[in-house]
Symmetry: C2
């Protein structure tokens, strides 16, 4: 009986266990099936190809390199950096930092405030790494011809026009857009395009290329280097005035607004001259936008709005068909168009800028904030000085930010006030600050240009040196003359 009674109770239990066992085993099989068949094989090996094939290697290389070394936040590793013994590119340290990881601060380091390197925007692009990266396939744009049938990416042109419209700094409608290898190349391209045609040149005298001091030196140096028979560098507009009456030849006047070096807004000085309006700095990082610029010939560069100076892309906006055609043909004849690799990369960069305009990550809000803070800090230090002074810039209403904005110039135009400091460059060099003498800008050597748009490290060292200078000066004044060496 016991056994007989046991059976009915025991059997269902056994069945239940078996059923559970079977379903559990079935589940095992399903998991195994998923594990081995549904997931890509590489996933087991290296953590997954995430559906990428040929692009994976380049993406991994870029991330791996960026991850190898932070360079202590005072330098960079670049994919094309010089390779060290470990077979990898090493840190390229910011100024005044040294050592394999840029961790060693150089004592009493001299500040270098010379170049217009727009490194103040580097942190912005690191913050937008995902959106701004671009992968260039090996077969990208082998041809000489690109989407306009010649040398210019139609999409990049459209996006640059959108950027101007959105920022409101230039009227693009009714104008041709011509790319060049930086606005630097377009300086001579436009001088060429506005000069008499080579055939006519024999008859008509060469065009006289001029600018008002202080002016950006390449207008002079580049025009003199190319030294074309159709034009001639004639120096400052002041000098040109005097000779103008005695000469019937046409003028080509460079008008830089905001001006480099002194950040002031400028207008043409000569009546009836052909004007090249250089608006490299007419972006909300550096100045208020009063109204869209609308000259016949305008010059812009990516170096200043996005900070990609190394990419070498500039553009001219030109109203007259014939002038635009001659400038375009100049770029064609001299370099067959700006690098297509750069045109692709800048397209991605402009897309990121456009996508963030007026938002929390607006690049111009970011840039203005950095540059305004720097100007404020420098002004505060210099305000204590009777030896050096800065150009005066007032807050102005900006149509882009839709409010009055504080000044944020790219450069300080420093004046040495003491009579004995007639070479301001030398005076600052003694204080271990490298600048660019006013003499190079055809201005008085009492002035010198101090760059404010480089890296944070550059600016910190600059402020240190200027502070030392001003403190020493105040110390001099407190003690009797001659004993300042005490």
């Amino acid at each position: 009986m016991e056994a007989a009674e046991e059976r009915p109770r025991r059997r269902p239990a056994g069945l239940g266990v078996l059923a559970l066992l079977c379903s559990s085993l079935l589940l095992n099989v399903l998991f195994l099936a998923y594990y081995y068949f549904l997931s890509p094989p590489s996933q087991l090996a290296d953590g997954g190809s995430c559906g990428l094939s040929w692009a994976l290697r380049a993406a991994r290389d870029a991330e791996a390199l960026a991850a190898t070394d932070s360079c202590s936040g005072h330098g960079q590793v670049f994919l094309d950096g010089v390779v060290g013994e470990d077979g990898r590119p090493g840190c390229e340290c910011n100024r005044c930092f040294d050592g394999p990881h840029c961790s060693i601060r150089t004592p009493n380091c001299t500040a270098d405030a010379t170049s217009g390197d727009p490194l103040f925007l580097e942190p912005y692009w690191k913050r937008h790494a995902a959106a701004s990266a671009v992968l260039v396939p090996g077969w990208h744009r082998l041809s000489y011809a690109t989407t306009d049938g010649l040398f210019q990416s139609v999409e990049l042109e459209n996006h640059i026009r959108r950027l101007h419209r959105a920022v409101g700094n230039a009227v693009v409608d009714g104008k041709r857009l011509v790319f060049g290898a930086g606005s630097t190349q377009l300086i001579n391209a436009l001088v060429h395009a506005l000069s008499p045609d080579a055939n006519a040149a024999a008859a008509s005298p060469p065009a006289r290329v001029v600018a008002t001091a202080p002016y950006y030196p390449p207008y002079r140096t580049q025009t003199a280097m190319f030294d074309g028979r159709e034009y001639r560098w004639e120096g400052t507009t002041a000098a040109a005035w005097a000779n103008a009456s005695r000469n019937s030849s046409s003028f080509i006047e460079f008008v830089t607004s905001p001006n480099n070096p002194d950040a002031l807004l400028r207008a043409p000085v000569l009546r009836g001259s052909a004007v090249i309006a250089d608006h490299a700095y007419y972006w909300p990082h550096f100045t208020h936008i009063a109204a869209p610029a609308d000259e016949d010939v305008m010059l812009f560069t990516m170096s200043k709005p996005s900070g990609h100076a190394g990419s070498r892309l500039g553009w001219a906006l030109i109203r007259d068909e014939k002038v635009a055609k001659r400038a375009y043909e100049y770029v064609q004849s001299s370099i067959m168009g700006a690098s297509r690799d750069t045109q692709l990369r800048m397209l991605e960069i402009v897309k990121v800028m456009l996508a963030n305009l007026h938002g929390e990550e607006d690049i111009f809000a970011f840039g203005h904030d950095v540059m305004r803070t720097r100007w404020r800090r420098l002004s505060a230090v210099v305000s204590r000085s009777r030896r050096i002074s800065l150009q005066r810039i007032n807050p102005q209403y900006c149509t882009y930010f839709n409010r009055v904005r504080e000044p944020s110039p790219a450069y300080a135009w420093v004046k040495c006030e003491r009579e004995e400091d007639d070479d301001c460059y030398e005076a600052l060099l003694k204080a271990r600050i490298i600048t660019r003498s006013g003499a190079g800008y055809d201005a008085s050597s009492r002035y010198t240009r101090v760059s404010l748009l480089k890296s944070d490290d550059d600016f910190e060292v600059l402020v240190e040196r200027v502070t030392d200078l001003v403190n020493a000066e105040n110390y001099d004044d407190d003690v009797p003359r001659g004993s300042s060496s005490m």
Copy 2:
């Protein structure tokens, strides 16, 4: 007894089942744990980030676009292509193909054999997609300065020197390497560097820039466009001979070897002239390598060895320090150096070329094979003609392939033999073949240049049209004159 006997047999079975059940359940728990905890969360969502973070988006965009449309194998989609209504770049079709997917063959299509577009190498880079792709971070090389402290990537320079050594086509030791925006830019950079200095120019007469016909037209057009006071285009060397005696001024002679258009090897014609040796085509794709070139001033470009014409990178190899310095300063003053984006990309490209030299995937073996086959096919057709003929090129021993190699010129230099065809360009145009007239090369219009290095599609159409031409001609000869229109 039965029951007593049953138990020992039944118990182990139950235990076994339970043990199996437990281990199976445990296995499932482990699977679940792996599934939910060990694998990155995104893997569940989108198939895995495979350890990538910021570089993933760009890599996916590039692959996704390449995968959207094969353009029927007769076109390309490019990341910066013109965007259609679907918000994506559409196919850019090869010549003679049309439609949204380049699937429609244009009937009676005219062959375009004008440009030197090196598209014959496009299939090579598609085959090496993984190795040749490069991901450019948004913060890459913002600065004007790069690894040489100025404008040139030291690593790229080193790799280009390695490439010359490995190919054996140029002596790089004891020479400075100067980059430019294509060898195009370096034409005028070298004319400038070899001309008297602007200050001295007033005293000494301008240098006389010459070449021997047939020569590459940009030597003339670009020199005439820049029209610097320190030099002057003086036409062909023949003409220059005549005037040489009457004139003490120095000569700058362009010597292109192999020559564009006729692929013949060239040597200087004038004694004592400064020579610019343009070796754009001195690579095993196009000619045998007899010995490393070793002139004082040599010109090269990436466009022809790798096919990246759109990237605009060329270089000069210069023995004399002063000449190299002037050429470098020219590039600095005119464009502030070749695009850093391009310098990075070309570094990756040269690495791939170097890694495969003399291997199964040797780019020069690939290139020579394509170009040799094209020359063979064209020659076979033209050999049946009494109306047109090709330049004669003999097989020659090549130090790179270490054997006698068949000819594989970049261009056919076609001569029209019939007396009435004194404009060979027009004669071929009537046969629906666009070429470049010999007149542009300062040669007889009985000659015209036919490009052979474009895409396979371009070449196929070209051979069709030439075959039509030759067949029609043979037909003409078989029937009595006047009735050929029957």
